[in-house]
Every structure is written in structure tokens, then in C-alpha cells.
Amino acid sequence: MNLADIFQHPLGRLSLESLPFWQMLHDPTKANVINGVIGTGAALMVVIGAIVTIALVTKYRKWGVLWCEWLTSPDHKKIGIMYVVLAFVMLARALIEAALMRAQQAFGLDGGFLSPDHFAQLFSTHGTIMIFFVVVPFLTGVINYVMPLQIGARDVSFPILNSISLGLTAAGAALVMISLCIGKFSTGGWFGYPPYTEANFSPGVGPDYWIWSLTLASLASTLSGLNFAVTIYKQRAPGMKMMYLSLFTWTALCAAIMMIFAMPPLTVATAQLALDRYLGFHYFTNELGGNMMNFANLFWLFGHPEVYILVLPSFGVYSEVISTFSTKALFGYRSMVWATMAIATLSFTVWLHHFFTMGQNANINAVFGIASMLIGIPTGVKIYDWMWTLFRGRVRFTVPMIYSIGFIFLFVLGGISGILLANPTIDYQVHNTVFLVAHFHNVAIPGALFGLLAGYHFWFPKAFGFRLNEHWGKVSALCWIFGFMLAFFPLYALGLMGLPRRSVAYTEPSYVPLEIAAFLGAILLTAALATLVVQLWISIKHRDENRVFAGDPWDGRSLEWSVSAPPPEYNFAVIPVVTGRDAFTLAKEAGKAYPLLDTYADIEMPKNSAMGPVLGTIAFALAFGLVWHVWWMVILFFVCVVVAMIVHGFARDTTRIVPAQQVKQEHRRWLDAVAAAKAVSREDERKSANQGLAEQALPEVPA
């Protein structure tokens, strides 16, 4: 990358050949045309989606609103919502890719319609997106929205840092999206093992796209984890001891700690791979002393804790949902907390089970196999706790409950297949088959995704002030549950029959019926996402019949339900004083849920900051330059990063005051609405009579 080089190749590796339809036009064989049409169609979806979004924002003159009230907002609630929106957009892409892969395999006897290279890109982007740009943003968004409200805080500890995390995550996601339009993504799978992803085997831009999108995502997660942990340790309302925290906040804390510890190994692994590819280092190459086992260890040292980062917040959601909709305090709160901590700790001791077959001796495998099985114990404790919470509760089968019940059954199955795989002798038989694919989808979908969807339904009324449509919610939940079963149970059988994972095609006719069943399951899952969109559309249309401004539609138990829906930007007119677990239930039982205040004080809130969107944009441009070897872009935007950070350091006057008078007005308006609302019983909570005020009639059944 000397100066002459920069001038001779100002666009780096970029050329017309990077466009998805180039190959099809120049070499129009049947296979090239099919793959070219699919690739171009996908690219068009991205381009058209972007153009339509820009056009709509322009047409309705919303650029100012978008910039001032959303993108630059330091409000944890808005940042949380933006994270979830990002997650849904990326979910749509990754789910379509999954359906395409299942279609390929359904017709994959002796061929199919996709080229091996195209298929490899699909499974690489599918995995990368689902983990780093669907589940992680989704859970980060839900934690962002809910956790500060649950602990009685006005915001997270570092609001601008929070906005920067969002910017970096979005930049990573944008990088994966643009790889559809320009160039190709990695074919090395979501964990991108070298030496295959080294420059001599994968000289194209694919692994570079993968490296930089992951690097951005992992930096963002590290910063989010730091922010959440400090918030939970330092911003709790007075009186809120650790053992009074909601279980969701506990799981958020564990996930945050794990992000702090588990993300650096990923950063190191991707950085070292980048040095290998860009500057000819030898960390993971075959020759000159490289050692790819270092990559395997680094990656899974991140990768296994990551699994629990994905699933623990969902465990927290299930705990809240099951307790609320069983009208009971959570059974075994302390055991739940200890189980969560135990899982978080154990998750750092099992990474080697991802490569039992890669050359360690049997004793090492045995140690890690036993450690892996141990995780089943605290997880089992949790399952029993949830069941005992349901036991003798007044259970309401709302949409979040359907997800939770589905989760309990399906996750136990996934856990059992995990215990099987934790045994190295069995792992040797089924590793690298679709049995493994079935297993990790069986824990990831019911474990992580269902929980986040349950949380979406549970907290949506809090965030937007109206309930989601129940009917379509149920249809969608059942599509997710049965679609999952139809798509992945056949893979267990196929795996035992010997079908290797990531096969683009096969020659064994007996696979076909099961492959077709799995394809139908994928269609059902696509329908599940479509019905979610329908539900959202209908709910927005009928929002005025389903308003819950009073703020407590489900007879909630923790502090987020004690404020209006949506909450004011400062969350609490006055920071509550906490005297026990389930603080809002305690207040309601004591008849002190909606206290009148005599005096109001000014509230200091952070000012908006452009740092998040600015750093996100710069990071995207920097990464794009790195992917395509456009060195002037790399230098320019690296300087921009440094300058932006220095300028931010010189910023003063970063807070503003919400005057007491405004706080008083807003609080009084809400209290008037509460006074005017008619309290509903639990039987009526899903009717439009529910204005967000819960009837306090029956005493609680003891746990």
C-alpha cells in the first residue's frame, strides 16, 4: 500500500466484476443465470428497501425527526427500540436465506439449483447475521429498554456510549447488507476457520467482509456489556439490593459480564486473521509456524460464552412472563439467581467441546465433556423453578405465555441433545452432521428467539402505549413453534443417517422425504415472520382501542410497570424507594402504587449527541475501505475516528434540565388518567377495556 499504489488503484479491488449480475452476463450458463438472478434479486431487495425508506422519510418530511429524536438521542428507550428494529430487519434477511437453503436441500438430490459457492455464502451470512445482527441486537435492545426502568434509573450510566454501541452495530449490519450488492461474503461459515479463510485459499473480499463486520459487532457488544454492568451496579434506586433485582435484570447483568470477558478473544481472533490476510503474518497459516488451533481456541473461548449471552436474557424474560401471567411471585428466586451465575461461570469452562475431534487427548476431552454436562444442572434448576411457578398459579394463556410454554418443552429436548453431544464418544459419531445443526437451532430458537419474541409482546405496550393484537400474535407464535419443530426435528434423523452439515447436495435418495419436511417447516417459519408483520400492521391500525396509558396492562410486578406507557423520557418523576422484591406488586398491595407528589424537582438529562451516528458512519466507511483495499478511505476515515473522539473529549455542557414544572404537568396528567381509568380484572386484560390499570382483588397464592 505505497503511495503510487493508492493513486494507481483509487478504487482498490472494486470493479464492475464485483456486481452480482456480472458473471451471469458474461458467462450465461444455466447455473450462472440461476445464481445470478437470485443474487441480483437479493441485491435489488436491499437497494429498493433503502430507496423506499429514504423516499418515505423524505416524503413525510421526517429527516429532522429521525435525526433529532431518534438517531442522536441518548435515551436508552429509543436506543433500545432502534436495536430491536435493526434486529427485525436483519431477521427478515437471514430467515429468507434459511428458507432458500432448505429449498436447495429439498431439491438437492444429485444437484439442486444453487452453486456450492452461493450455498456457502448463504450459510455463512445466515449464521453471522442471526447471531451478531439479530439475536444480539434484539437482546441488547430489550435490555436497553427494560433494565434501567426495572432498577429505577433515569438512563444507563453512559448514554452517549450506548448510542455509539448502536452506531457500531448498525455499521456492522450495513456491511453485511452491502456485501449482497457489491462483492461476495465469506464462504467460511459463521466461525470462519482458517486456514481456509486465509488469503491463499480465500483471496476474495468475502472473509474481509466477515472479519470487519464481526469486529464492529464485537466492539459494540463489549461497550454495551460495560455500560449495562456499570448501570446495574451503580444506578439502582435507593433500597434496591442485589437480591431485590428482577430476574431479567439479573440475567442482563450476567450477560453483560460475559460480554466484557468473552468479546476480547473474538476481537483478537479477527484482528489476527486480518493481519494474516493483509500484512502476511503467520498466526493461522499452514506454513512458517502458523497454528490454526489458536484460532479455534480463541474463537470458541468467545463462542461458547456467546451462546449463553444469547440465551440468558431470554431466560430472564421467561422468568418475568411466567411469574406475571401465573399471578405469582417467581418460585425459587434465589436458586434462579445462583443458577444464572453458575451458568455464566461454567460457560467459560467448556469451549473445547466445539472441537472434540481436533486432536486433544481423551483425558482433556473428558474434562471438557463433564464440564459441559454440568451446565445441565443449573439449567435444570431453572426449568423446575419455572414449572413450580406455574404450579397452582392462575395462568393466563397470553401470547408471551404460549412462547414460554413452547420454550419449556422444546428447550428441554434441545438440552438433552446437548447432553448427548457433550459426550465425546457420541460427538465423534455425529459431529459435523446436521444433528449438530438441529441441536443448536433447538436451543437457539426456542431458547433465545422465543424469549425475545415473548419479551417483544410483553413490553410492547409499555414502549408504545398500546397492546399488540392477540389473535395474530397467537397465530404467529404457533407458526414459530410448529414451524421450528417441522424444520429441525427431521435434521436430527438426517444427522443420524449421516448427512454432513453444509452439504449443498447429496446422493442418498432416503434423505429426500425428511428434507422436504424440513423445507415445509422453513416455509412455516417464514409465515411466522409474515404474521408478525401483519400483527404489527393491524395493531397500529387499531391502536386507539388498545391504549394502556396508565401503564400496567398485565398486573406487572416490577418497577417498569409503575410508570406511564410510554414512560416519560426521564422515566420516573421521582426516583422510587424500594423495600423488597417485586417492588410494584408490593406498592399495589399496600395501596401506594400511584402516590401524589407535593414537590417536584428539576431533572438533569443528557443532551443529544451526534457521536453515535457519526462514529457509526465513519466505522462503516473505514471497514468498507479495508474490505476493498481502498487505502485513501482507510487513512481518511481512521483520521476521522481519532478527530471525532478528540472533539468529543473537548465537548462541555452536555446536559440539560427538564424543569420541575414540566415534570409536574406530565406526572399530573398521567395520574389523572390513572384516576379516570377503570381497573380491569385479569379475565378482561386482553379486551379494549384494559386501559392499563389492574384490579387488585384476590390475595396472592403462596408459592
Binding site: L226, Q272, L279, G280, F281, H282, G649
Partner: protein, 207 residues
């Protein structure tokens, strides 16, 4: 001192600083957590080095490349800079005046830059002996670990200059105080990492 509430680990500003003392609580705690994450980063790179130390692939090894005399000078420079930063922290805490604070920070900066100069000189002479990172797994790992520390020192230096600039513009306000306290932790942390590098890379490599 003992009867004053400690808001966070390490040197506290103390109640004489009023609201700044309280503001330090979450900020400094958060910075400790960041350092923890950074420590993991370094430990992973250390692990890479330890597993690659014999992977010289026929190229030059520690005995041909390391120059203990230079490294000792670097170590002394960095340790001295940690001491001078400690003096800057004390000047901040006990309000010895802006001039003294800037003075100690400037001395720290000079020592840090001198450290970087010696280190760069080290790398150049390694390069001259054929010790380039693309030569072997061992050299790749070396040039991951030691320059990573150097880049941290450089980042700390840039931060230091910015802080001096902020003092010039705003005086010693809340954000400057919090900045100096965080950079102090960062600087001492880098010292500890260097001790590990000095013993784990240079001394062990030449033993």
C-alpha cells in the same frame, strides 16, 4: 483519609472536591471494567505468544533479536513515567495548582515518547536482522503483543495531550479531573502489562 467514603477503587478525589468526587464513582468504576476487558485482550495475545514462542520456522529467535540493554532502558523510562503520573494525580487531588499538574503531565508525556522512541529503535534493529512479522509464527506473535502495548502507550500519549489542551481551555473542571484519573489508571495498567512483557517475553526469551 480512612474515614472518608471510598467511591471507587484506587485514588479517590476526596470530599474536598464536592460534586466531582461523586461524579467519579460511576465513571471510574466503568473505567476499571474497561481495563478488565483490555486485560483479557492482552492475555489472549500473551497466550498467542506463549504458544508460538518455538514456532520460529528456521528464522531468527529471541537470542538473535532481543537486546536486553535497550529493553531495560525502556522499562526504566516507563516506570519513571508511572511515578511522575502518580505525582500528577497527587497534584490534582491536593490541589497543588494547575501549573504543577501540567508540569507533571508534561514530564510523563516526555518519558512516554522517549519509551516509544526506544521501542521503535528496537523494532528497526530487529527488522534489520531479518526479524519481520511475516517471517514466522513466533515473530507474528511478538509483533502482535509488544506493538499492541506500544499502541496503547501512543493512545495514552494522545489522550494526555488532549487533556493538557482541555486544561488550557477550561481549567481543571470536572471532565478534566475525571479524565486525568482515568488516564492515570490506564497508564499504570500499561506499566503492569509492560512488566509482564519484560519478564514473560524478554527475560524468559533470553533465559
Amino acid at each position: 483519609m480512612s474515614h472518608e467514603a471510598i467511591k471507587h477503587p484506587g485514588l479517590n478525589l476526596g470530599s474536598a472536591h464536592g460534586r466531582d468526587h461523586d461524579a467519579a464513582e460511576a465513571m471510574l468504576f466503568g473505567f476499571w471494567i474497561f481495563l478488565m476487558s483490555d486485560a483479557i485482550l492482552f492475555s489472549m495475545v500473551f497466550a498467542t505468544y506463549v504458544t508460538s514462542v518455538n514456532a520460529t520456522a528456521g528464522g531468527p529467535g529471541p537470542h538473535e533479536l532481543y537486546d536486553i540493554k535497550n529493553v531495560l532502558i525502556e522499562t526504566l523510562l516507563l516506570l519513571a513515567s508511572s511515578f511522575t503520573f502518580g505525582m500528577a494525580s497527587l497534584a490534582l487531588k491536593y490541589k497543588h495548582g494547575t501549573a504543577r499538574l501540567i508540569g507533571w503531565l508534561a514530564v510523563t508525556l516526555v518519558l512516554g515518547v522517549a519509551f516509544l522512541g526506544f521501542e521503535l529503535n528496537d523494532f528497526t534493529s530487529m527488522f534489520a536482522k531479518g526479524g519481520v512479522p511475516s517471517r514466522s509464527g513466533f515473530l507474528s506473535a511478538f509483533f502482535d503483543l509488544v506493538p499492541l502495548h506500544g499502541l496503547h502507550v501512543m493512545g495514552g500519549g494522545v489522550w494526555l495531550i488532549c487533556l493538557i489542551g482541555q486544561i488550557a481551555m477550561y481549567g481543571v473542571d470536572t471532565q478534566v479531573k475525571l479524565g486525568v484519573m482515568r488516564l492515570a489508571l490506564f497508564w499504570h495498567f500499561l506499566d503492569i502489562v509492560w512488566i509482564a512483557i519484560f519478564s514473560g517475553v524478554y527475560l524468559a526469551g533470553l533465559a
